[in-house]
Amino acid sequence: MKKFYYLMRMAFMTKFAYIKAFWFNIFGTAVSILIYYFLWKYVFRTREELNGFTAAQMTTYVIISRVLSSQFSGGIDREFSEWVYKGNIVVELLRPVPLLYNLFGKRIGEFLFFLLFKGIPISILATLILGGTGPAGAGQLLLFGMSVLVSIVILFWIEVTVGLIGFFTLNVWGLTFTKSALLSILSGGVVPLFLFPDEVAQVLNYMPFAGMVSVPASIYLGKYDWNQAVQFIGLQIIWAILLGLGVLAFYRFAIKKVVVQGG
């Protein structure tokens, strides 16, 4: 646990070293919130509600979805793949902790940084300024937090998979780009899932991606009752475990084929 704490701390400190660049990152997210806010404002000009969402709830959905999906373009996959194609993976493999443990510590450290410097302040500020609604209740807020936590694990497995594919393609730029675009759409990060055709929305609701934006946002807004919320989080946990097992198997296979480039 101590090891994990120190790995996390290192990721946090590394992020902190780039705090100036991070202001621009925050600025980018703020702008994207504004764009979506005005888009929805236009939609709500002629109506009171859309599929049970009031204008204020939609504003909150926009804030939560933009902030959560801004994580999709970050993460450890880029760095992981850089280790692979620059050959630094050899250094990481020689550390006395398993590579995935190391990466997970790093990912959680980055997540905490995200939460502290972007997630929480931006969400609160934007809600106050743009007039969104608060959480449906203390219980919902708690479940929302749990859902986000589980979704980080799922996101981590996806990022590891993208990085691992780098073992074979030796470069993942195209792939990371595809990943963030697909995740944004499938998770409900761009538009709420209910705007998809019914059948598609039904399927997407039960996919692991929904857990990254749609499920936590719906829980936060009180769109799910207690039972539903717990069931969706349970489903997320099952996905996290299943994906984890799959990625572990893929990892064991891929690591055998590691070709370390350069020297």
């Binding site: 090891k3 020689l94 902790v97 020297g263």
Partner: protein, 334 residues
């Protein structure tokens, strides 16, 4: 029991064949044409605890591949490796804890944070007791003169400073084996000297086993007692450095400073098998084979025709010996 035992080690890579034309390159995007490339070809070796071994060979001879297999990063195609009786591939974490690595072109530290913070993380990862950590750190800071650099982030350090920090990092957990891959590449002579002294001290005081790969033969000569030469994935020589020098030094160079040099005026050098390397107004440089010609014979011959002011005889250095062995090996003579 040897600390490191390697038997019939083989590593093959699949390498994409160069398609040649652009059109074929397009075709190979879908159906790549592979060829098998044997980077390490049936290597056997045993290394005792506390030995310092120079692992040398030309670029692409299979040095790094061997080291990567020894450390468990790469899976051998065939053959076995035992380190203290353990197979590195299957006991990676155990082996990692006992080994240290230094790569001249890579860093084990975290780029953006002060070096000391990196050391702290290494301490936790390797589970180094606080006392050992402090003692080691104090000793290393003193030996490598790092006092002022450990509070600075790595990205702000010079190449030499980075290397020092990385070498210290490799020894913090009292490793039993340390792999040094080009540890002094690109460093100035002062830093090289410090680093070599440090490594020697670790070898003497702590009986750390070393495997050093380097193209700087001064590294090898000053650090290692034993040399293993690998070429095209095969071991060509595995012997004590002294023995290699004795067995393979056949040529010597003799340089004369002469008052008057008749050979510069067209006189024939009359001893067979002696090569005239350079001839000038007052100097004469000859190369001869010690098995065929005696140095006294040359001295007598030269002094008979000229007045010798100064003379020096040089044997080959280990670098040129190795170069010749590799050359012969490439021609299939060894």
């Amino acid at each position: 029991m040897m600390q490191i035992e390697v038997n019939h080690l083989v590593k093959e890579y699949k390498r994409k064949r160069d398609p040649g034309t652009l059109l074929k390159a397009l075709g190979s995007m879908f159906r790549p044409d592979y060829e098998i490339f044997r980077a390490v070809d049936d290597i056997n070796l045993g290394i005792e605890k506390g030995e310092a071994v120079g692992y040398v060979g030309p670029n692409g001879s299979g040095k790094s591949t061997t080291i990567k297999m020894l450390s468990g990063v790469l899976t051998p195609t065939a053959g076995t490796i035992k380190i203290d009786g353990l197979e590195p591939r299957k006991n990676r974490m155990k082996i990692n804890k006992r080994t240290g690595v230094v790569f001249g072109n890579r860093s084990v530290l975290w780029w953006d944070v002060p070096v000391m913070e990196s050391y702290r993380v290494l301490q936790k990862l390797y589970e180094i007791p606080e006392k050992t950590f402090r003692d080691n750190l104090e000793e290393f800071i003193d030996l490598l003169d790092m006092e002022r650099i450990i509070q600075v982030p790595e990205r702000q350090l010079s190449l030499g400073q980075k290397m020092k920090c990385n070498i210290a990092a490799a020894f913090l957990h009292n490793p039993e084996i340390v792999y040094l891959d080009e540890p002094t590449i690109g460093l100035d002579s002062e830093s090289k000297l410090k680093i070599r002294r440090f490594i020697q001290k670790m070898n003497e005081d702590r009986h750390t086993t070393f495997i050093v790969t380097s193209h700087d033969f001064q590294d090898i000569e000053s650090l290692c007692q034993r040399i293993i030469l690998i070429n095209h994935g095969k071991i060509v020589i595995d012997d004590k450095i002294g023995a290699v020098r004795k067995n393979f030094t056949k040529k010597k160079q003799i340089t004369f400073d002469l008052a008057d040099n008749p050979w510069s005026k067209g006189k024939e050098f009359a001893i067979p098998d002696v090569r005239v390397l350079d001839v000038g107004e007052t100097n004469l440089v000859l190369e001869y084979d010690v098995e065929k010609t005696d140095s006294m014979e040359i001295m007598n011959y030269v002094s008979a025709s000229s007045d010798i002011q100064d003379v020096s005889i040089n044997g080959q250095d280990i670098e040129s010996i190795i170069r010749e062995i590799v050359k012969k090996d490439n021609q299939g003579e060894v």
